[in-house]
Each structure stands twice: as structure tokens, then as C-alpha cells.
Amino acid sequence: MATELKSKVTYIFKKREFGIFLFILILLAVFGSLEPRFFRSDNLSAILSSVGILMVVGAGQTLVIVTRNIDLSVGSSLGMAAMVMGMVARSRPDFSIVGLILIAMVVGGICGLINGLLVSYGKIPSIIATLGTLAIFRGAVFVVSDNVQIDPNDVPKGIIALSTTSPIGIPWLLIFAFLSIVLVWYISSQTLLGKRIYAVGSNPEGAISRGLSFNKITIMVFVFVGVLAGLGGVLYTARYATINPADVGRGLEFDVISAVVIGGTNIFGGSGTALGTALGCILIGILSNGLTVVGVSPFWKACATGFLILAAVAIDNLVRKRQEENFLLAIRNQRTVK
């Protein structure tokens, strides 16, 4: 019994996500000791709010990267969804909140579908396809909005409330973030679809030969991240209240991919967890907020983010190498024993 417990504990320790969690604790300790105000509840909740949107989109991006693809257009999809929703809200102030959310998710899903088709049937490498749609969707935001931004006045109070309240006291923003992570966790670990997604990512040729519908799965993950980007658009509107065609969602893809990579997802596909991505988002949020609160000049932030990504990937690689060595060693030992 004791050994069982011990092996369970060591198992957790060995997990990549625990390493990130440990690092988060260290950062909290460092920032907190340098500046006790860091731990103020409104500051901590501000950190969570700032990464809420990142988590929602990151959850989707995780699955995309697991399938050995990448989606650089999430920021523009988010912008498109937010802008369309905002325009509907502005012209019909009594439109239902749920309806608006659905509209945003559908718009995001359409963007994702376009990406998915380009990558699967069009056979365009996802990095190129989404580099193109990044620009195309952004242009579409401009054309659709006719260059006019949505002011806070035009945003229904119900949408803004999403970032502050909900029936159970925690803002909807955080609930959605949490649900997205849980959803991706559930899909990836508990469903057959999830296993297929990981299979496609770790061995595309093998997966095809086993009869998995490569195209269908690819389209599915892109639509999924598109829908989540649409939801992100709603949350963006809730949090910032202004939807400017040039600014909305700009640069999001860099933060999302950084968070996913820091969270332990391998850029070559096949492995990665929703929990890791969530922790990666939180880490980025803590770093950004902490540096400001502690008083580090804002100009060091970009450096810090770069170092973080490098460190995360380097550690991940070392762990992976050691796992491989252990695995090979185990096989060899088995052989000699026999």
C-alpha cells in the first residue's frame, strides 16, 4: 500500500505539468516576497482574467498543435467573431445574449472550417495556410466593419457582465476558461476521438494506414479552435468593451502558441495536455503581472517571455531524452534478463 502511494506520488512528480506548477509556485514566492501587494485578491483575480481569454483559445490550439499543425490565424478569427457579434449587438440592442455568443462561435467556426479545408483537402501546410488566413481574416474584419469601431456604449450590459459576474460568484470569463480546459482534457484523455487526434499527430502515415480519417480529424480540430476563438471574441468584448478593427485580437497568436509550448505540448505533435496549456497561460500571466508589480522596467518583459519559452522547451526536451533513454535501457535490461 505504501509503495503504491509512493509510486503514485513519484509518478506525479515526474509529470511535466508538475514541473510547471512548481515553477509557478517559485515565481509566486519570488514576486510575493519582493512585493507583498502581489498577493492582493484583486491582483490575483486580475491575472486570471487576463489569461482567461488566452486559456480558452489555448485549449483549442493545443489540439491543433497535437495534430502537428499550427493555427496562426486565431487572433484574426477572434477579431472577426467579435466584430460581427458587435455589429449585430449595435444594430439590435435587444438581441439575446446567448444568441450573440452563438453568433460569435459560429463565425469563429467558419473561419476554422476555412483553415481546416485548406490544410486537409488543400494540402497546404498549416503554417502557410494560417499565415495567409491571418491576413485575410484581418482584412475581412476591416471590410465588414467598414473601419468603424464598436464603442462600449454599443455593447450590451449582459455581455460586459460576463467578465464580472455569474450566478455562482465567479465571473463567466473564468468559468468558460475552466470549462474549455476541462473539455479538451476530456476529449483528449477520455474519448476515442481524442486518442485518434493524438495518433494522427504522433504518426500521420501510420494513422492513415489504420483507417483514421485524417482529413476529418484535421478539419475537426481547426473548427474546434475556431469556435473557441469565437468564444474568445465574446470574452474579449466582455473584458475590453471596445472592438477596434485594427486592434482586436492582434498578436494573440504569439501569446497562445507560447503558452501552449511552455505548457509542454510538443511542436511536432503527438503529445501535450490541456492542463499543461492552462498552467502555461497562468505562468505567462503571473510573469507579466509580477514584473510590472515588482517594478521591473516594461522593456524587460519581452526578454523574460523569450527566456521562458526557451527554458520550457529545453527542459521538456531534456525530460523527453531521459524518458527515451530510460525506455531503451528498460528494453535492453529485459533482453539481457531473458
Binding site: 512585493e35 501587494r37 502581489f38 492582493r40 484583486d42 491582483n43 486580475a46 487576463s50 484581418r138 476591416f142 471590410v143 466593419s145 473601419n147 468603424v148 469601431q149 464603442d151 462600449p152 456604449n153 460586459i160 467578465s163 464580472t164 473584458r239 475590453y240 468593451a241 471596445t242 477596434n244 478593427p245 485594427a246 486592434d247 482586436v248 492582434r250 498578436g251 507579466s288 503581472n289 510590472t292 508589480v293 517594478g295 516594461p298
Partner: protein, 354 residues
């Protein structure tokens, strides 16, 4: 050379196929893109006497749309068409292609709200050499690169105004911080410098400026910076954001925070964007000016220079009927100041629409 390397080189050169389908598809798509996009371009095809290109900082900013409104209003009576083009981002050099295009098109005048005080100079100087009237609107470059400049308010006193504005919402005492735009923005930096000079010279002694942060005119970053200010300075009583993106972000942060009403938000913002926050009590007052007036002055000034060969220099007096007070005097470095700032508060917020 052996066959392997030749074969590999051929391999490296890619498929040796002709692509017949490419011809119609690509040309169609290019033409379609261009044609549909041309419909979006804000260009009039009427043959008027004066052709002006106005290049705001970037697109989608209602503030600059108001300047365009002023241009068009004055332009109607002056036989002038104004084209508005701008880059996707407010980067220092992103406006250069549009200046060059205007030079090529041999327009009569270029009006620009510059993203950078220096980087555009080589291109603007070429425009001036080509006989094009160059005006800077709402912000300025190096004086050698433009014929005249129209500033919305007197930049040299706007810094003092911002400090006084903070004092008025705080009742004269308290800690406060600036939430500015990009760290390289020439207009904001000029105001910040003016504010610091005023404070150092003894202005508003009851106030204490604790920090200056940069929101980069991006909503997310501005909101994060505002939040960080609240966390870092528990005694903070006001945030002054002299940029429309920053003030909206800070107001949004505070309107959903328990500190609403305890920490004041003020600065420069547009009535339409800020109306919400005046009404819900987050913001007591903020200011701006009438951006459209700058457009009207600019349009008239262009005609003066082009038609009447007026040379803009300090001390010159010009009369434009119906444009604000009517008479305008050029100041140092050929600058026209459009007028004093306008304060917006609960009493007058509904009277404006921009």
C-alpha cells in the same frame, strides 16, 4: 559531376511542370481582389481643383474619422477632394508607402498625422521638393519636413493642462499615474515632458506623479497596465490617460472593479467611447477638443498656399470665415493651434457625436 548531384539539383529546382490552371486562377483572383477592394477605397472620382491625400496614424480610429469630417466639410466649398488612406498599424514607417503613392499621383497636398517625428522626413522632404504642400495634422514632425503644422491644442501647455485636469478630479491632492500610448509617440511624449516640467516647476504641489506606463494604444496592454498600476500603488487615486485607447481601457477596468469611484480616471478620450463611463460614474470628466476643426483649417490652409501663394511662417494672419473664431495666426515653426481643450462631463456629454 555525377548523376546523383544533377538529379538532386533538379529535385531542388522543384517540379518541372507547367501549370496551365495557374494562369486564369491567379489573374482572376488578383483582379477580383483588387476590384472588390477598390470599391472599399475612399476615393472620389470627381474632377475637382484640389486633390488632397490625408494619412491618419492608422485606420479604424474614430478620432481621425472626425478630422476627415472636418476636411470634407471645408473641402466642399473649396472644390477639394480628400482621399484617406492609412496603414494597418501605427508603426513609425508604415505611412511611407502612402506618402510615396501620393507623390506619384502628383496630389496638390499631403496632410498627415505622423506616427514618428523623424522617420518620415526623407519621404516628406521629397514630397515638398515635388511641389506638394505638406501639412502635419494633430501631431508634428521635425519642422523642416513640412510646410506648416496644425495642432489640436497648444502642445506646450497641454502637459500643464493634464496635470491641472487630474487635480480637478482629485480635489488637489493625491497620488496619480500616467497611462500613455506607445513609448515612441511624439505627441504623448511632448505632453508628458510638459507635464513633468510643470510639476518640477512647482505646479500642483498636492499631487504626486508616481509612475508613467505605456499601453501601446493596444486595448489589452492598456488594460493590463492599468490593472498593474492598481496593484502596485495602493494609494493611487487617479489614472490620467492622454490617449483614447488608454482612457477607455482604464475606464473599463475600473468600471468593473471594486475600486470604481475610489480611483479616478481622466485624460483625453472621445465622447462616444467614454459616454458609457460618464453615465455609470466611473469617470467624472475628461477632455478632448474638436478634431474636425483641424481638418477645416487644414483644407483652407492648403488652398491659401496653393492658390494664393501664401508662405506659412510665424506671425502670419489668416482669415477663414466660418472656421471656428475665423482668424488664425501662425505661431513659431508655422504652427496653427486649433483651440483650447474641451472638457466633457455628465452635463454636456450627450451634445457631442464623435
Amino acid at each position: 559531376m555525377n548523376y546523383i548531384s544533377i538529379a538532386l539539383r533538379n529535385e531542388a529546382k522543384g517540379m518541372n511542370k507547367k501549370h496551365k490552371a495557374l494562369v486564369p486562377v491567379l489573374s482572376m483572383s488578383l483582379i477580383l481582389t483588387g476590384v472588390s477592394a477598390s470599391f472599399m477605397a475612399t476615393s472620389a472620382t470627381a474632377a475637382t481643383k484640389y486633390k488632397v491625400t490625408y494619412i491618419p496614424k492608422n485606420l479604424g480610429n474614430p478620432y481621425f474619422d472626425a478630422i476627415v469630417g472636418g476636411f470634407n466639410k471645408a473641402g466642399k466649398g473649396l472644390n477639394m477632394t480628400v482621399k484617406v488612406v492609412a496603414p494597418a498599424q501605427a508603426g513609425a514607417t508604415d505611412q511611407i508607402p502612402f506618402i510615396e503613392a501620393a507623390i506619384q499621383q502628383k496630389v496638390d497636398a499631403i496632410a498627415i498625422s505622423p506616427n514618428d517625428a523623424n522617420a518620415l522626413c526623407p519621404t516628406l522632404k521629397r514630397a515638398m521638393k515635388a511641389g506638394i504642400v505638406v501639412l502635419t495634422v494633430n501631431g508634428d514632425t521635425n519642422a523642416a519636413c513640412r510646410h506648416a503644422s496644425i495642432t489640436p491644442v497648444d502642445f506646450s501647455v497641454l502637459g500643464k493642462y493634464l496635470v491641472d485636469q487630474t487635480a480637478s478630479v482629485l480635489g488637489g491632492k493625491g497620488d496619480w499615474a500616467f497611462l500613455s500610448a506607445t513609448s515612441t509617440a511624439p505627441d504623448q511624449n511632448a505632453w508628458l515632458a510638459g507635464a513633468k516640467a510643470y510639476i518640477d516647476g512647482g505646479g500642483q504641489p498636492g499631487l504626486k506623479l508616481v509612475d508613467t506606463v505605456y499601453g501601446d494604444d493596444a486595448p489589452e496592454k492598456s488594460a493590463t497596465e492599468a490593472q498593474a498600476l492598481l496593484a502596485k500603488y495602493p494609494n493611487l487615486k487617479a489614472i490620467n490617460a492622454p490617449t483614447t485607447v488608454g482612457i477607455a481601457a482604464a475606464a473599463q477596468v475600473l468600471s468593473t472593479s471594486p475600486l470604481k469611484g475610489k480611483v479616478q480616471v481622466t485624460g483625453l478620450g472621445t465622447p462616444n467611447q467614454m459616454r458609457q463611463y460618464i453615465k455609470d460614474g466611473t469617470v467624472k470628466s475628461f477632455s478632448l477638443w474638436d478634431p474636425g476643426l483641424q481638418g477645416e483649417i487644414a483644407a483652407n490652409l492648403i488652398v491659401s498656399i496653393k492658390a494664393k501663394k501664401v508662405k506659412p511662417k510665424a506671425g502670419l494672419k489668416l482669415t477663414y470665415k466660418g472656421v471656428g473664431p475665423g482668424t488664425w495666426t501662425l505661431g513659431k515653426d508655422a504652427q496653427i493651434i486649433a483651440g483650447p481643450p474641451q472638457e466633457f462631463n455628465a452635463a454636456n456629454i450627450d451634445k457631442f457625436n464623435f
